[in-house]
Symmetry: D2
Subunit: 342 residues, 4 copies
């Protein structure tokens, strides 16, 4: 079987990562590649690491250029996927790496993104309890944000098992590729190397409501999340440190048991051996999520740490994982849990 | 006036930073430089950035080599300052960059460091309420740890003003020089570049009781601190993200007002303009601390962020600041608030 | 078909990279993993990125533990492969990632490495003219050094076509993983981040005679090579800038034509489009080599630049490529030309 | 004495570095700060590391705003200094950090920069033989380019002493700040971290004729320079590897002697002890230049390596050094040879 896949936004980081992975996917044929202002340019110049596609020329991002493929993956700025997706056929599998269809509550969309809410699609985080079944055979899937992926997976077992109060603090350190490829002065290499900075502090980052939505679904009630993203000097990777007040007499062993149980059958999530803490390098370029959990006895908080490659499992890898589920392929096809280290 | 200063541990990062700053200090003459296993080696090879001292040869770290100076600065592994300091004259100003004399509670020393408690010296954080006066003319000063410096300064105004519950969560991203110059595999460049990792999770890092001690002194009662250090790919700098549950109707404006008031007269602490968040690059090589604070309305938490150069204000700069206070010099002599950026 | 492969030195960077690639190789079953001082430890701790092998325990590096495999890959410090290989059966394919069998001239071995010369094996650089045939079915292969791989491939077309005098200057910038995983102070992250340095200047680096050997073979006569390695702040990758005096009226077009012709059929070497210069990120984790060439009209020199991932095509990828050739598999099995960027 | 200094282009890297250094200069009062598109913005936002100037607002870059100062330092894109300088009074000391007045030959200006040649000013490299005297009391000074500074200083003693043929190969690795603060995609942190790349290959980089001009002046005849710049993942610093064919029986000792003699009295240039090779970290933020030289006996080439902080001695430090000379101050006022390491 060979499935044709078009990628819209092929010159960006999300699109590039999807293509990197699709080039290693045995069941996929790469179809149209489209760009915005880059239409007409050669991929070899825009994405020089994608050697086998070097001679491909970007077409404009229109319903016409994307038509006729089994799957269309969208790697577009938020607000652009909605209008486009509406013009793609119902039989086409559309996988949106952007934010347009992630949030269910239109008021939250308007508060955090502004403009009209496009709607919500099945949320592409198969590891969320009960979610995998919603993705099998789906024709529309919203790929989660990078911060929500790792923050959610590092927290869900604790909140789902009721080990903690639903009052979570997340501080996440991210590489710069999460900010995209648009040239902004504060993202220049000279500015980010040797530098760590905080941004979007105080609950204003757009990924905050998405984390809350995920945890609320699991808890079945209100959840408070204080989320602070920080930028650190690396291209890829997120390290999320998550904590919440412990309930009753929960011990470190209880916590570990809950995490190990929650992820026992997950192909991409690994609870590290006791005492070993996650590092982003271990999951670089892979679809793996590494998590670890312990209990701070003095502060009476559960502390969990998760890592993910923001472009791989955090974006492009998740898109391929969702593509596999949508098409009924083995969920791990074309994906690896082996990171590129050192 | 010219003061003679000896530096023990001149081959390490703390000692090197003290020397870098002393070379620009107008009232200081650099005396004996000592090392452990490096004794007999030339400083130009060990610290090639200290050009004017390149021909200096390290002497062994003994009371004899350190005797006869007005000031002795100790940059030694913990446990070594205690026995040595006991053999230095009472008139000599001794400034310890290590941990030996930071903690007041012997049980906490034993729990976190092991071995006998050397005692406690005036704590070299002049910005702590009431602390500056204890340091003027002191002959023994314990320089704070790097994490405690920035975590404390980013949190004190909020807890001192009673804006938050004394239940603080700190997640700090540090450059690697905080781990010292001893060659360990996990600190190799190949391991730390492109990598972010957590360590000492769950309240076990040795700086935890020091932060608690500082905040408890200010609050005048028990304080809970959940502290998680993380390592990010840069040589210098710490970014500390601190949060705590808001009390009553505290607003972002209240928070800012408290911070601005607390640091209005501090020469080294700057509360950034509203909306501007700290970045470590801005304080690189300087004695400045940048802080910012806001309120997460939805999560009902105050969130404050502070940055410091772990080797400068976090170690060597603090040592020089303390030296100035001990000797009755202007506190800012030989120090700058201008960072090396980009 | 499934081939069993043992890896000696599985805790090091070369061994780890071989394993990373073998985990994605369809025809290979990973057998014994051995270590030196790490024997008895768990691979999940030593190489946390190799998730699927996390529970493997390292055995001691002995002929017994390595016996009974179709292939043995050696990732050992130089001087250790020789004695070990002598005790492995003739039918076993032995692929040495170390230096022991690279140099043909015993005097050069003694001059640059010291100790007894183990001998020389077929040199595992299939892209060297005529070399591929020597590797098909071979049972002993010496994997080239990382610097020689990229320096040779960036220079061979020019010297082979007689476009330049055989008087080559190579200055190469390398990531730190080329220096291995042994903890040395000058390789600490704090020392290498924000830092570029030269070392082994003046023709004393051990890879110098290997580059000369390669170019001399192609030229069929004496070649002079001035080689200067430099260390730059990244984990992986080498950028080699190579130049030599132009002969006669050689133009940039002549140079490009020679390079394009030389590599037209090579699966892993890509001559970039005119005007596009190589960057290491494009080949990260891949077996690709990117090269570009031009002519400096004023200085009358040909200048060629090549990039390679020192651990992939520069070590582990080359080992797998050689394994494929030795076993009669398609040369590209389990290898990619797609880099991990950004 | 207090001299007023205006800085045009205060929002850029050159202007920011000049200001960083002037803030520590005892004889200077900082006057007008001007910007282009940033006029009207606050310096605290644009250059958050310059704490003491945080409240300064940028004025437009016009002759009027710059008038009335003793010194005007220009940190402008090339082509802008010429027209502006023509409108500044003859008594005003004007120090141009840009390229407009560096080249003496109008044809080279047109070839490498295009547009009209503004002319040439005394070249601000006091370490060039005979040049210091031309700068004392000068009212117009052209600060050298960063690459030419280090390439020239690493090469001059060899060519001046006739130890080598005037046929020099320079390969230089630079941090990204040399490319300025304008946001370009290829300079994004995600693109430059973990990446080394070559650019301007084949003699086309604009600093090439400047290096040739410097060496030709010293040799008193034609010099050939093959110059290749490369970009490596750090904010600051250049490492230049320079080599040339040895003449006659020149030994490494001869070479060292020539370098030590050439720089014996230079306050900022240090020839490292034999066997110690330069690293950029050692000169970070300082005005120091570290050089080392040896001889490759087999390749019969002299190899010299130099390092400089491209923004400090490579731009802003040189500007202050020239300011000191122009005003008759001690040449080292406000400058240091101590680098910020690690």
């Amino acid at each position: 079987m060979s499935v044709t896949v078009a990628v819209a936004g092929a010159s960006g980081y999300a699109g590039g990562e999807v293509l990197r992975l699709l080039l290693g996917h045995p069941d996929v044929e790469i179809g149209a590649l489209t760009g915005g202002s880059n239409a007409g340019e050669t991929l070899g110049v825009l994405q020089p690491h994608l050697g086998p596609l070097a001679d491909r020329v970007l077409e404009p991002t229109t319903p016409d250029t994307l038509a006729g493929h089994d799957v269309v993956v969208l790697g577009l700025p938020h607000g652009q996927s909605g209008p486009l997706a509406a013009q793609l056929g119902d039989q086409t599998v559309v996988i949106d790496c952007g934010a347009d269809y992630r949030l269910e509550d239109p008021r939250l969309w308007e508060q955090f993104y502004g403009g009209d809410h496009a709607g919500s699609w099945p949320y592409g985080l198969p590891e969320l309890p009960g979610q995998r079944e919603r993705l099998r055979g789906a024709t529309r899937i919203a790929v989660p944000g990078c911060y929500p992926t790792v923050s959610t997976l590092a927290t869900v077992p604790a909140v789902a098992a009721g080990l903690v109060e639903p009052d979570v603090v997340v501080v996440a350190a991210s590489g710069t590729s999460g900010a995209g490829k648009a040239a902004k002065p504060h993202l220049l290499g000279s500015e980010v190397m040797g530098n760590a900075s905080a941004y979007g502090v105080g609950g204003v980052h757009r990924h905050t409501p998405e984390i809350i939505q995920n945890l609320s679904r699991v808890v079945g009630g209100d959840v408070s999340v204080s989320f602070t993203p920080t930028l650190v000097p690396m291209s890829r990777g997120i390290l999320a440190t998550c904590s919440a007040p412990l309930r009753g007499g929960v011990s470190a062993a209880d916590a570990r048991a809950a995490y190990e149980k929650a992820y026992a059958d997950e192909p991409f999530v690994r609870v590290l051996p006791e005492g070993q803490w996650p590092q982003t390098q271990s999951v670089l370029g892979s679809n793996a999520v590494h998590v670890q959990v312990t209990v701070d006895e003095a502060a009476r908080r559960l502390v969990a740490v998760g890592v993910v490659d923001n472009l791989a499992k955090g974006t492009g890898g998740a898109a391929v994982q969702c593509l596999n589920l949508a098409l009924g392929l083995d969920e791990t096809t074309g994906l690896t849990t082996v990171g590129l280290a050192p």
